[in-house]
């Protein structure tokens, strides 16, 4: 891509930090993340769960660390300026800095870890890579929950164990399941996208 010379702007020596194509791709991915995290699946037992963790893990497995992390930053930014994009139509600055904000910030290390080995790069997914990727996802999830628990405990003055019981325990099975499912789907989606010969990276 050639960079056009800006004749209107004599001070235009500043090179763009991100090129336009990366910017539009990230923006559209963030929009996908918003749409996906609003989909709810009625879980056995009747409690509807949102796909926030699933959608974030999916983007990370498909897009890798760099694009994944940028996408998440835009997603968190959209939430911070007041759009109800977080799970359960929550949104706003208060959600991000409030008691459960640690989980949202904790998604950032999670997405970097998951994206370290993006899915579907090789044609054949070996069993070893499968375990490495799932393990990376679970470690990332662990970091995300740890960040969430510490933040929750700091804001509410609860001991860590109580914070775990209130913030993490009810969701941990769902989240582990989300990681595994996201991986399975990411492999399938990635393969199809490769077949469509789209430049995704």
């Amino acid at each position: 891509m050639t960079t056009p010379i800006n004749t209107n702007n004599p001070k235009g020596k500043r090179r763009m930090i991100l090129d336009v194509r990366t910017m539009t791709h990230i923006a559209l991915l963030a929009a996908i993340l918003v749409v996906c995290s609003q989909i709810t699946i009625p879980f056995p037992g009747g409690v509807p769960i949102t796909l926030q963790t699933f959608a974030i893990a999916l983007i990370a497995y498909i897009m890798g660390s760099y694009k994944g992390a940028l996408t998440l930053i835009i997603y968190l930014g959209l939430g911070a300026i007041g759009l109800p994009v977080f799970a359960g139509f929550k949104g706003g600055f208060d959600t991000l800095i409030g008691p459960t904000g640690g989980y949202l910030i904790g998604f950032l290390p999670m997405i970097v870890l998951i994206g370290w080995f993006p899915a579907g790069e090789t044609v054949k997914e070996t069993k070893k890579m499968f375990f490495i990727r799932i393990a990376m996802g679970l470690v990332g999830l662990g970091i995300c929950h740890t960040a969430g628990i510490f933040r929750l405990s700091a804001v509410t003055g609860m001991p860590l164990a109580a914070a775990f019981a209130a913030g993490s325990a009810p969701f941990i099975i769902k989240d582990v399941l989300s990681i595994v499912l996201a991986y399975r789907i990411a492999v399938a989606v990635r393969r199809q996208l490769n077949r469509a010969t789209l430049s995704t990276r």
Binding site: L18, V20, G77, L78, F93, T95, T156, P159, L193
Partner: protein, 275 residues
């Protein structure tokens, strides 16, 4: 509820018209102050201030309560844990290692109240009275000095507004894809969770493909119009600080000063057990 407006409550009060930059700075300052407040009188004063501000903003109490409801469960949980574990002041009741004391009660009450203050402050000053576009504008302006350190402030704001613009398009697109795939025999509703997830592949692949195409088209369109990033761009509604903004900011600083003076100068009340 419109997704692109969030929980914004339309109005024309003093709070609505304040400069978003001032509001963001004030909210961040209040966040810090809320965590510093321990004295009952200072905490009560902040509560009264919030009620006055709600009245000034002419925001219905219902929308305030919605943000409170989001943290209600955690607040109650924290309250119970605190009254049972903190032992200070006059002990009212004791059972093994669990104690119920005036200090514990106050501590639990204080922490729950802090949570409410936290969410009410930020939703009152930002989410409810400022449109997302304005907040994004304010954030971009505030982060602008960081561009010297290669922080992509303008790029982030630009990506956020692109994402904002495409969310409704993608919602519609997802709906269309699901209907199209259903008419071709795709099944999204039956089977166990793994089968449902498999069905999502047939929805996600077209969604990704069409999004990447849109992104490419948009990039070409932007480059064709010589998009160069933030340098030299002008705005339709530039942010200009008015006298009222400055006055509000000074007022907020004075209020914070008074709160902190009260916090550190007033003698501790007995029932709080020195907490």
């Amino acid at each position: 509820m419109q997704l692109t407006l969030g929980h914004y409550y339309h109005g024309n009060s003093v709070l609505h018209r304040l400069d978003p930059r001032i509001k963001i700075i004030v909210v961040v300052l209040f966040m810090v102050v809320i965590f510093l407040l321990n004295h009952p009188i200072a905490i009560a004063a902040f509560g009264i201030f919030l009620f006055v501000m709600i009245a000034v903003a002419k925001v219905p109490l219902k929308s305030i309560l919605r943000s409170v409801r989001a943290v209600l469960f955690i607040a109650i949980f924290a309250f119970i844990v605190n009254i049972l574990t903190v032992d200070a002041g006059v002990v009212l009741w004791r059972l093994g290692s669990l104690t119920l004391s005036t200090g514990g009660l106050w501590n639990g009450f204080k922490l729950a109240l802090r949570l409410f203050y936290l969410v009410v402050t930020s939703s009152l000053f930002l989410t409810l009275t400022t449109t997302p576009i304005k907040i994004a504008d304010g954030l971009e302006k505030l982060l602008k000095p960081l561009e010297r350190l290669r922080f992509p402030a303008h790029e982030l704001a630009m990506m956020m507004s692109i994402a904002l613009r495409f969310v409704p398009t993608l919602v519609e697109e997802t709906d269309k894809i699901m209907k199209a795939q259903s008419s071709r025999g795709a099944n999204y509703d039956t089977g166990n969770i793994f089968q449902k997830a498999k069905g999502m592949v047939s929805m996600l692949v077209p969604l990704f493909v069409s999004s990447f195409k849109r992104a490419d088209d948009l990039a070409i369109a932007m480059e064709a119009r010589c998009y160069q990033g933030g340098t030299g761009r002008t705005k339709l509604h530039p942010l200009i600080l008015k006298t009222s903004d400055t006055l509000f900011f000074i007022g907020a600083l004075v209020f914070i000063g008074i709160l902190l003076t009260a916090e550190y100068m007033l003698p501790p009340l007995v029932f709080a057990g020195g907490i």
